[in-house]
């Protein structure tokens, strides 16, 4: 832990957080047609969480609940087409014209990706939680 000794590190991480999240967001939306996607975005956001943890900025998110929510979203999007008489994992695409952005296309795959990101971020937080000295219990004696 470097929290108590280095305000510079903390300030640096605080300042780096918004741009890093922007990169994550960019990857998330780029992933539809180019390299990127929910998984890569989740890793970036997870890295941000890990960095913030290093300088003592903890999150209060319960990782298991975040992962559970992610899986529910993913499974829900995967199974939803069945209700409309289509095959599993089929997707719907809506496109519309907006004033500034021009033609905008949105697919239900984006919701799927949100779920993927949630699972990845949840996993990263769970790993950090597991490694953190506050929650790690001493190993039990000599049992094997």
């Amino acid at each position: 832990m470097i929290r108590s000794t280095s305000p510079v590190a903390e300030l640096g991480v605080r300042a780096a957080t918004p741009p890093a999240l922007m990169v994550g967001m960019f990857l998330f939306f780029a992933g539809h047609n180019r390299p990127g996607g929910g998984f890569a975005a989740g890793l970036i956001i997870g890295a941000v969480v890990a960095l913030r943890w290093m300088v003592g900025l903890r999150t209060t998110v319960v990782p298991s609940q975040l992962m559970a929510a992610g899986i529910v979203i993913v499974a829900g999007v995967a199974l939803a087409p069945v209700l409309f008489g289509s095959v599993v994992l089929d997707q719907a695409v809506w496109s519309t014209s907006l004033p500034v952005l021009g033609k905008v296309k949105a697919g239900s795959a984006a919701i799927f990706d949100i779920g993927v990101s949630a699972i990845v971020v949840g996993l990263v937080i769970a790993v950090i939680d597991g490694l953190s000295p506050a929650t790690t219990s001493a190993p039990e004696g000599q049992s094997s």
Binding site: A69, I71, A75, A78, L79, S86, V87, L89, Q91, S144
Partner: protein, 493 residues
């Protein structure tokens, strides 16, 4: 049917999320887990009946053509093994609810959700129609198994968990390389397309791919010589976890081996597979004979049994592959059961060391019966399921005139029986080495564990009773495996 097949994969994963969210509400979590596992087993049964009547079910996820997208294929082989596997997981979950009252219990709020993730991964591995999804399924299984193996954090578990993780990551890395090779040489990872394109490659490339994946899946299946991670890590986990691993994990490797090598017509590899099969059988059983601990003996047996399945594949005849399919179906529940009984022995004595146990037959005759039936079945004594499976393998071996492997298989059978007798002598006969037996678990917990094991034993007896129709199905499965053009037309249509 086109909804049921993906549901068998997505259902357990969705339920895992719900069980994870409800993990502090014990009853709700258990209800979600049990109902889902029951539903998945029931779904697998329906799938077997449907596939047997009206042919394989092919589902194109998202409606994409197999050239571009992912397909799930439920043929007879996949459906049969899936039924065997899911029914086994269900029995283990009931057992683990009973075991919770004992000191051996795995942490319940983790086991429920992770067992479901594992089940989802196993379903995906059996049902997937392309190699990359198979890789994803392997990772899904491995990630949940890493946690299940080491979550209690005892020093022995973490140490042997390391070798498990390293060995499996090594195999996964090789798998990824193999995927790159396959894609580079054929331009696809879809298994139906591979079955058409791999035989067109030059014979050197074919052999290279076949050997590469033999190493990958062989490591996952704990075949000789890459088996030592298994008996090292399995016995350290809590009983229920070991039981699931013993029944399912290596068998996913064997399943993939049979699937890949028959689809791509790797007949040339037959002799090599047979040599590995013989060595696996022998090393496994000799290892078992040298051990002095119930769980370790049983762990070594897993290895020797893997040899039998490889033998069926190595013959590359319809009878041989059918024998391997039947052996797989019989082995999953039987092996799991033996570990469950091993867990109950441990619960009785506080250890599974043979020297510190004895005289159990007099005190718990039912436990003796529960051990004897799967033990004799595993050794291959009639009239149990193991006899049917082994007989069909031996006959296939004789038909194919592979005398040496038949002799090895018979000798190993006898040695298997010998090591089972060793457990029997050590645990059930003789006198109890303790002055006064202490009760480690409540009668209620024992009751639940005994009935779960008993119900599962009835299941394995059913395998023997239904041997006729099961053999017919195995034959049909083997025929379509060895003639992959039917599979390819079905998928690509």
């Amino acid at each position: 049917m086109t909804t049921l097949v993906p549901l068998l994969v997505v259902g357990p994963l969705l339920a895992a999320a719900l069980a994870l969210a409800a993990r502090s509400l014990g009853r709700l979590r258990d209800a979600i887990t049990l109902i889902t596992l029951f539903g998945v087993a029931l779904g697998a049964l329906i799938l077997v009946l449907s596939v047997n009547r009206s042919g394989p079910v092919v589902v194109r996820l998202g409606g994409w053509h197999p050239e571009l997208g992912i397909v799930l294929v439920a043929d007879l082989f996949a459906a049969l093994v899936l039924l065997s596997a899911t029914a086994t997981v269900l029995a283990v979950e009931v057992f683990s609810i009973g075991q919770r009252k004992t000191v051996w219990a795995a942490s319940p709020d983790l086991v429920g959700p992770l067992l479901l993730v594992l089940t989802g991964g196993v379903s995906l591995a059996f049902l997937t129609g392309d190699l990359f999804t198979l890789f994803v399924a392997f990772e899904l299984i491995l990630v949940s198994s890493y946690v299940l193996l080491t979550h209690q954090g005892r020093s022995g578990q973490v140490r042997s968990g390391m070798s498990y993780v390293v060995m499996n990551l090594f195999a996964s890395t090789l798998f990824l390389f193999g995927l790159a090779f396959v894609y580079a040489s054929t331009g696809t990872v879809n298994m139906a397309l591979l079955s058409e394109r791999v035989p067109e490659l030059s014979s050197g490339t074919q052999l290279g791919l076949g050997l590469w994946f033999f190493v990958v899946f062989g490591t996952k299946a704990a075949a000789f010589p890459l088996f030592s991670w298994l008996p090292d890590s399995y016995p350290t986990a809590p009983t229920t976890i070991t039981a699931v691993f013993a029944g399912l994990l290596t068998k996913v490797g064997v399943y993939s081996l049979i699937r890949f090598h028959t689809l791509t017509r790797m007949d040339e590899l037959g002799p090599i597979v047979l040599i590995v099969a013989g060595a696996t059988m022998l090393v496994g059983v000799l290892g078992a004979l040298a051990q002095n601990d119930v769980k370790r003996i049983l762990s070594f047996h897993i290895i020797s049994q893997i040899g039998y399945m490889l033998m069926g594949l190595g013959l590359f005849t319809v009878a041989g592959v059918a024998g391997a399919v039947l052996f797989l179906v019989h082995h999953i529940p039987t092996k799991t059961l033996l570990f469950l009984v091993g867990g109950m022995i441990e619960d009785e004595y506080g250890t599974s060391d043979l020297d510190k146990a004895g005289g159990l037959a007099a005190r718990r005759p039912i436990l003796g019966l529960l051990f004897a039936i799967p033990a004799m079945s595993l050794a291959g004594l009639p009239p149990f399921s193991g006899f049917v499976a082994k007989l069909s393998l031996i006959r296939a071996g004789i038909e194919a005139q592979s005398t040496l492997i038949v002799i090895v298989a018979l000798v190993v059978s006898a040695l298997t029986l010998l090591s089972m007798v060793k457990i029997w002598l050590g645990v059930f006969w003789g006198v109890d080495p303790r002055d006064e037996p202490t009760e480690l678990s409540s009668p209620q917990a024992r009751m639940l564990m005994t009935s779960a094991t008993g119900a599962a034993i009835v299941g394995t007896l059913l395998v023997a009773v239904l041997a006729g129709p099961l053999w017919d199905m195995s034959l049909a499965a083997a025929e379509s495996l060895l003639d992959p053009s039917g599979y390819a037309t079905e998928v690509l249509r």
